[in-house]
């Protein structure tokens, strides 16, 4: 760790403007001839690297080091509802195996629920070395205190170096609680994970709500924790013969107490889920009104596509919140996605850039969506889409 120090004597009229401007967060203040860093600082250290020479300096301070050799293995939290395992779990097992092979670690799963022992066997078809099962009637429903207690028990017992959690509503509730109990780091919605030789997990995610990727590490604490969305990583093939073992763990009755009582569980109505769509027509700010959605609907119908969109369109009420692609919406990985009038903020792109084929139509030739699209079409959606619909209709779609 460390802190930013300003060498005040090197600040002068000619470089102060440059210094203030270099901070993307407006966190450098100049008052009464003195430079101060305010609480807006994200410690990106841009001011050290790109600011006027010799002004800002980063000073390392002594920190407690963790003995990394005591923490081994990569664990995956098994996301499930009443024993039905969420497919993000298999995707994370695939990633965990990749990461584990670099440092010769085992891959673990931790499975918390009721009447799940049979279901745990399924995980052994995906190359997990050991599944730790917490099976109690008190663990039937996800409740934060009991599930955190089980995770705590697992971590103390097994000491995994890294834990991957699916960024579902359950995972996003559980992971931060567990990370805090161990006073360790947690990186949300990682899109890339890599492993260093020294067992540090390299966690990469879009950051600061803008067009930036941040590479994050957690070098002085263990376990390292990351959440990953569904449809970001690839699930391994299911193997015919299971391998690995199942270990049943017990929790003291004290840890099964909760201030929460689940009164009723209703299955959501089966509704179109954009995460499962094979073809998507996505719309952005270029769509101005309900009326404009008609041509989008025509195109979607021809391609048997679902309609999805960006955050501004949700805010404008043109598409429902469940159809939002992006960091604050859903991640999608269809065979085809057509982005109509979408500029391509990372917020959005991070939710769709793993799609097989990406078409984008945008008037602005500099739109960043063109960095992502396989086929970037510089033009007006109001000219192209109706003509395209006509063309596709003619050829008997």
């Amino acid at each position: 760790m460390g802190k930013l120090i300003c060498n005040q004597e090197n600040v002068n009229e000619s470089n102060i403007e440059e210094l203030l401007k270099v901070c993307p967060f407006g966190a450098i203040e100049y008052t009464d001839g003195k430079v101060q860093v305010n609480a807006g600082c994200k410690m990106c250290k841009i001011c050290v690297k790109k600011g006027p020479a010799g002004v800002m300096e980063f000073v390392e301070t002594e920190t407690k080091k963790v003995d990394k050799s005591l923490w081994r293995g990569i664990a995956v939290y098994v996301d499930h509802v009443e024993g039905t395992i969420h497919p993000v779990t298999m995707e994370l097992i695939g990633k965990a195996r990749e990461l584990a092979s670099i440092v010769d670690f085992p891959v673990y799963c931790v499975f918390i629920g009721h009447n799940i022992k049979k279901k745990a066997e399924e995980l052994l078809h995906y190359g997990v070395d050991e599944v730790f099962v917490y099976d109690n009637k008190e663990l039937k429903d996800f409740r934060i205190e009991t599930y955190t207690a089980a995770m705590e028990d697992f971590i103390n017992k097994v000491r995994p170096s890294s834990i991957l959690v699916g960024a579902t509503t359950t995972g996003r509730s559980l992971a931060p609680r567990v990370a805090t109990r161990f006073r360790t780091g947690l990186t949300a919605d990682c899109t890339i994970l890599e492993m260093k030789e020294n067992t540090d997990l390299v966690q990469i995610r879009p950051a600061f709500g803008g067009n930036i990727m941040a590479q994050i590490i957690c070098p002085n604490t263990r376990p390292q924790m990351a959440t990953v969305r569904y449809k970001i990583m690839n699930a391994p093939e299911r193997q015919r013969d299971p391998k690995g073992t199942i270990t049943v763990c017990k929790l003291e009755p004290e840890k099964l107490k909760s201030q929460i009582e689940v009164l009723k569980v209703t299955k959501k109505k089966a509704e179109e889920n954009i995460s499962d769509a094979e073809v998507i027509v996505a719309v952005g700010r270029a769509i101005k009104s309900e009326k404009d959605m008609a041509m989008v609907q025509d195109l979607a119908d021809l391609l048997h596509a679902q309609i999805a969109g960006t955050r501004p369109l949700v805010e404008a009420g043109l598409i429902p919140a469940k159809k939002q692609i992006g960091l604050s919406g859903r991640t999608v990985k269809p065979k085809l996605i057509i982005a109509l009038g979408i500029s391509g903020a990372v917020q959005f792109v991070a939710g769709m850039n793993h799609s097989d084929r990406i078409f984008a139509i945008n008037k602005d030739e500099n739109a960043s969506i063109f960095h992502t699209a396989h086929y970037g079409i510089v033009g007006d959606i109001y000219e192209i889409v109706p003509r395209l619909v006509k063309e596709l209709k003619c050829t008997g779609a």
Binding site: P24, I46, K50, T180, I212, A350, E383, I384
Partner: protein
């Protein structure tokens, strides 16, 4: 009942870009606003107050100019508010931020309920709420869609789970994070604006906290470190088409056919 709402000031634009040549972050304008998801949390608190009585307080953490969001909360009807701000908090990650806010919460009094928006639009992590719950030693429920019933010592809520909707009862004190659209946020009122003109905004610094150990805050208290920031990778397998609407629509139609989507 007494309710505390956590709010944050976020940039009004998501236009943060990296200059491809210099690698320097560019940010156009400095317009800020209250995190839109927090408006739903605040509205939920105000609705509860209308029915149950009690006080609604707000707390925020950020640079001094984040006072603006507290003022905005006053204009919507919050009774009291504080801003946590200190240079020592610079560079805080989620864990350090959650610890800092929980320290601030303890200075604000005792609460039956702490409300947060489901996430912020700048960090997008949705982690600070649950982490605060752990630091404060109270249970939490995230993604609350609906308040079903408020009892004397508990609250019944509907929560959004991956494939189900669950109705759960949670004892006070507790923390919940609410989904967008739980209630329609009210607009700031002119009358409240006048009333709030000279209303005090408490400032909390590390010196106000029980725990003054500066190794627990800011960068020092942050287990995660940003190693580097960089522009997202550019897809190299791509082509750009230009021309008239007629030409482009034809070209696109034939490509879609060639790829067998039609």
């Amino acid at each position: 009942m007494d309710i505390l709402v956590c709010i944050k000031q976020v940039p009004d634009t998501s236009k943060v870009e990296v200059d491809p040549v210099t690698g320097v972050l560019k940010r156009d304008g400095v317009d800020s606003k209250m995190n839109p998801y927090d408006l739903y949390a605040l509205e939920t608190a105000l609705k509860m107050k209308e029915h149950q009585g009690g006080l609604v307080k707000v707390i925020s953490m950020g640079p001094p100019q984040a006072k603006e969001v507290i003022k905005e909360a006053y204009m919507m009807g919050a009774d009291d508010g504080a801003l946590i701000t200190d240079r020592k908090f610079a560079g805080a990650d989620v864990l350090a931020t959650s610890y800092t806010i929980s320290q601030g919460v303890r200075k604000m009094g005792d609460f039956d309920l702490i409300l947060c928006g489901k996430q912020t639009t700048d960090g997008d992590t949705a982690q600070v709420g649950p982490e605060m719950g752990e630091y404060l030693g109270i249970p939490h429920i995230t993604n609350v869609l609906k308040i079903v019933e408020i009892k004397e010592k508990s609250i019944i809520v509907e929560m959004d789970m991956p494939d189900t909707i669950e109705v759960a009862e949670i004892q006070f004190p507790c923390l919940i994070t609410v989904e967008k659209d739980i209630f329609q946020p009210r607009l700031p009122s002119y009358k409240k604006k006048l009333e709030a003109k000279d209303k005090e905004i408490k400032i909390l610094t590390i010196n106000d906290f029980e725990d003054k150990d500066d190794m627990k805050y800011g960068l020092n208290g942050s287990p995660t470190q940003v190693e580097r920031i960089f522009p997202p990778s550019i897809n190299n397998d791509r082509e750009i088409w230009t021309g008239t609407g007629d030409k482009l629509s034809l070209q696109m139609a034939s490509k879609l056919k060639e790829l067998k989507f039609i």
